[in-house]
Amino acid sequence: MSRKLSYREAMREAMHEALSNDPRVFLMGEDVGRYGGTYAFSKGFLDEFGPERIRDTPLSELGFVGAGIGAALGGLRPIVEVMTVNFSLLALDQIVNSAALYRHMSGGQFSVPLVIRMTTGAGRQLAAQHSHSLEGWYAHIPGIKVLAPATIEDARGMLAPALADPDPVVIFEHAGLFNVEDELGDDWDVDIASAKVRRSGKDVAIITYGGSLPKALAAAETLAADGIEAEVLDLRVLRPLDNAAIAAVIAKCHRAVVVDENWKSGGMAAEVVARIMEQAFFELDAPVARVCSEEVPIPYAKHLEEAALPQPEKIVKAVKEMLG
């Protein structure tokens, strides 16, 4: 039986299930407890699971992310919530220099089974310091997995395999998705290894993830009205990338536009384009295009912010230019 659920509710259910099923799981972060979670993902958890397992932290991103790594090394399965990717920069040392390296650097002796969740993305007039999309940075690092749930099913389903993974997993949740609702069936078992085609088409592949997925789907609808059938590939997992799925949509459509909210220079889309060149160059009928954020700190004013970010119209325009 299917039911209607928001992204927020799906994520909350997923955490509730994890906390209920495994006593080693606990949630730690700024305002996850008494406040109920910055985005209300953990509302009511403190009363149900208590302050030991729903652990409010001070504003010490480096400290509590590192403590999450230590707790994972010590036998627990922490979910560490970093309020937003913007603040995760304060914790980057622990994520990059400890969590990601420990297994290899210790010769396989110490794994870090840690899940770090963080809100990402722009689009809510929060200005430059609260609007980063740095998934590409994290996806650069060997030793961690990087997930970007974009659908209700993935919001509900990705946490369980992330917690079951012996290695550190970073989950990016785009703030623009939290109130999105969709039908969810009874089976939300998903993997954290593969990309997924969200819309089938043959004329062009739009490759995207996270908060840009709804924009890509909206663009595909507009294009369909003009007789252009776009295939939309949701990457879902940003590290390791699903090379086969990327190659498959190129082999099918022979044209591609890569869409994400990173800046173009050295961003996630740059990596995807490079993979296309390496694997599927001779399948291409046109140069691959990118629709990314403008190379500017994300401005506050609404019209400027909208102009700085990928939008369905920009995607439509890129596709039409490509198809001539």
Partner: protein, 339 residues
Amino acid sequence: MTVDHRAPPPPSGPVPWNKEFALKLLADMVRIRRMEEKSAELYGAGKIRGFLHLYIGEEATAVGALHALNAEDNVVATYREHGHALVRGMSMKAIMAEMFGKQEGCARGRGGSMHLFDAKTRLFGGNAIVGGGLPLATGLGLAAKMQDERRITACFFGDGAVAEGAFHESLNLAALWQLPVLFCCENNLFGMGTAIERAESQTDLCVKAASYNMPAIRVDGMDIVAVHETTQQAVQRVHAGEGPIFVEYQTYRFRAHSMFDAELYRQKAEVEEWKARGPIHTYTARLKAAGTLTEDEFLAIDVAADAEVAAAVAFAEAGSWEPVEDMLGDVMSPAGSAP
């Protein structure tokens, strides 16, 4: 704020331990000293590469402190950790092979001198980011507390780490949550080449730690008796659930920061003055004065240490290189393995 770098009088007085224990600690200091001296030599010979940070001069701190821990306790250390690994129970062979970069090393040669790891003795590295171990130790303490385990975490770091945000965030969290963590600050007066008074507005490190509402104790890190007795009391309190404790061990490194250091930042006379209160010979003198140690017994300890070093070097020499095709192994766990 000025800091007196001059060495206080050498440690003296009776040693309140039975002969077996007293000599065990002496032997461990000598083992570290001989291993480190040989490591310096091997660095010169090109057998050990990268950064090599020697613990010579500071032996009393690791030996005295680590002998106050139980086997089930956790240890988090820095990049100057060969001695800690050895005292904790890792074989000198595994340490030496690691420094050679051989796959018989404790971390298969992936980590080298700065990244000694040993799950068996619960040594969680070997961390080469100054202050990087403090949040980890806090988390290990949290795990022990939440799982009702009877283990504490001893976290070693230098005076340089006190300037890092990680120090302040970790002490705050550990005290706020009353975690079983022993913060062991090895204050050797220099963060690499920068003297403490050139780095800290408040050079009294105990004042800083105490501001996080935890007991802060200062001890002469060159005096193994004081180190061990003080640490043991602190360990008992942490084990009893009294929350974290900070111990500052005032020590001094006799050698350069690393093998690349020309030591332009300190006076030779200062080094010599500290060497006069070196942890091994002052302790040896105390044991001899009390009739606990004969010269023959000391020589036997020294000969045994030399033999252990020779065996470790031979083991490392005979070791093998990890095949390049195995290099990517353990970046991630093998597919299907459960945490």
